[in-house]
């Protein structure tokens, strides 16, 4: 069974040999492959080679385009510097006044270098990996993107100070994301992830009022193209998890901060799965082989086996090869 077959069959609730292994590896992948993070972010050849090496060496079932949340942010006009070995940093002020957000408009995917680079990442995965791996593209959801442009704190206050502007900007950002999704699926992505990290902090009332319908529209569009949708909101999403499931996303990422997934698993549709939720620091980075195995097993038990093995959030670059191998082995032990 190929990783691609395993993942698709697993989502569709068909028999598989073992649950798919989809750890979020960005800085870990760059470090393991001994490449500079700047190149990992900006050069599709560097990222795809690094991710493929990790997939081959650690029995990983997916290939992703994830590196940082700023691809669209740069397209919206925020300038970044790219340190050699850490995350991109904005060098010009974000939109410092709520009136600035009237400048946010349509962005053309094919005119923005980082967006083009993402499409090339997907094409390169198809080129190098063929039909072996589950290829996942990515877009930022409207709340996450707005927070990246405005600053998270200011964005939160804008939700109260300027809700009509937020509504207008969300429409524009959702339309832009839909266009970006289309290009990525056409390039060969089997799935598109939607990053909405900031939504775990705003509570269910604001999420439902302002962003739920936008996220659902993104999921619907992904499905209309014949692809799978993954919804990624890190942090403690307990208060909005039922809504996340209602978006219809096929894969719902669960951060370890949610705690047990048991209370929520019965809300999943027949062809929906969780992905999570081992603690990437206390368990995967700092734990031993037994604690890693126990965590992986616990996630399967909590979800009656309806859980892609992942850490819910990024594997740290400080994770040892020994521990990551133990993580891989814990997954292989789940063979059915």
């Amino acid at each position: 069974m190929t990783p691609l077959e395993r993942t698709i069959k697993f989502i569709e609730n068909r028999d598989v040999d073992l649950p798919p292994f989809h750890p979020i590896i960005m800085r870990f992948a760059a470090k393991y492959s001994n490449v500079k993070y700047k190149d990992f972010c900006l050069d599709y050849r560097v990222k795809t080679k690094a991710m493929l090496k990790c997939a081959e060496d650690f029995s990983i079932d997916w290939l992703t385009v994830m590196s940082d949340p700023y691809t669209e942010t740069e397209a919206y006009g925020v300038k970044f510097e790219y340190p050699e070995n850490s995350l991109p940093e904005p060098i010009e002020p974000l939109f410092t006044d709520v009136a600035d957000i009237d400048r946010i408009g349509k962005i053309n995917t094919l005119e923005n270098p980082r967006m083009i680079n993402r499409i090339n990442e997907i094409k390169e995965y198809v080129n190098l990996g063929g039909d072996k791996y589950f290829i996942v593209g990515w877009v930022e959801g409207p709340m996450a993107e707005y927070a990246d442009i405005r600053g998270f704190g200011e964005a939160c206050m804008d939700l109260f100070d300027a809700p009509e502007k937020i509504a207008k900007v969300s429409e524009i950002m959702t339309a832009n994301a839909i266009d970006f999704i289309t290009h990525q699926v056409k390039a060969g992505a089997h799935c598109i992830g939607i990053g909405e990290a900031a939504c775990s902090q705003i509570g269910p009332a604001l999420y439902r009022e302002l962003f739920f319908e936008k996220d659902r529209a993104l999921v619907d569009h992904i499905h209309s193209l014949g692809a799978y949708a993954k919804l990624h909101i890190c942090g403690n999403t307990s208060s909005i998890l039922p809504d996340m499931i209602k978006t219809g996303a096929d894969i719902i990422d669960i951060d370890h901060l949610v705690g047990s997934m048991s209370p929520f698993v019965d809300l999943l549709g027949k062809k929906q799965v969780f992905s999570g939720s081992s603690d990437p620091v206390s368990i995967i980075q700092d734990g031993d082989a037994q604690s890693i195995e126990d965590s992986v097993t616990a996630c399967q038990n909590e979800t009656h086996g309806r859980c892609i093995v992942s850490a819910g959030c990024e594997i740290t670059p400080g994770t040892s090869i020994e521990n990551f191998k133990a993580y891989e082995n814990a997954v292989l032990k789940l063979k059915r």
Partner: protein, 205 residues
């Protein structure tokens, strides 16, 4: 308690906070009384609601903004009155991390609770925390929002572990009590309100 002032803070109505504080000072009320009888309890109520997941970050932020707008007016009056702070705290987001929401919330709540706060900003390496302690900080607060930057907290904890005059408290979205215990941090704040409680307990011990 001035219930209108407290309500204005909890609702995030900074315009009303500014008006009420200004009028109260003009009316002869003491700055310390305005702060301690109405503003601090209001922020404490907000902090407690946040801890119980009755409100979330946006509501906390607009309340904190309203609180800060009142503190800005009170500051000179408090200094004139010889108001003494309860202690000196340094707070910063750790190296490699640019997130500041949690840090900013804790800083405002600490100021409101009567502490002198040295805000070190974001992306703080050990030298910033060392300088803050050299400048008199009794407690160092480390904040992180990323699993990939959390490990730097251990660097800070390890540096100050032999200094009995300094306590290190950690917090942030991915941080847990277990993690705090594993790196031998002196304290852990599960959210802004509990961070303030941890410091209050630490400094009154």
């Amino acid at each position: 308690m001035n219930t209108k002032l407290a309500e204005a803070i909890t609702k995030g109505d900074r315009n009303s906070v500014q008006t009420i504080v200004t009028e109260s000072l003009k009316g002869g009320e003491k700055a310390e009384a305005i702060l301690n009888d109405s503003m601090v309890p209001a922020m404490r109520e907000i902090g407690e609601k946040f801890s119980r997941n009755e409100i979330y970050v946006p509501e906390m932020l607009i309340a904190a903004r309203a609180m800060q707008s009142g503190l800005d007016i009170l500051e000179s009056a408090l200094v004139e009155a010889g108001h003494k702070t309860l202690g000196k705290i340094a707070i910063g987001t750790v190296k490699g991390d640019l997130h500041d929401i949690g840090k900013n919330l804790v800083a405002i709540m600490l100021k409101g609770a009567g502490y002198e706060v040295n805000d070190l900003g974001v992306n703080c390496d050990i030298s910033k925390y060392i300088k803050a302690v050299d400048d008199g900080a009794q407690v160092v607060l480390c904040s992180a929002l990323l699993t990939t930057t959390m490990p730097y907290m251990k660097t800070v904890v390890d540096h100050f572990k032999d200094n009995k005059n300094v306590k290190v408290v950690i917090g942030g979205a991915p941080v847990t009590q277990d993690y705090a215990d594993s790196i031998s941090a002196d304290g852990y704040g599960s959210d802004a309100f509990n961070a303030v409680l941890a410091i209050e307990q630490m400094l009154s011990a």
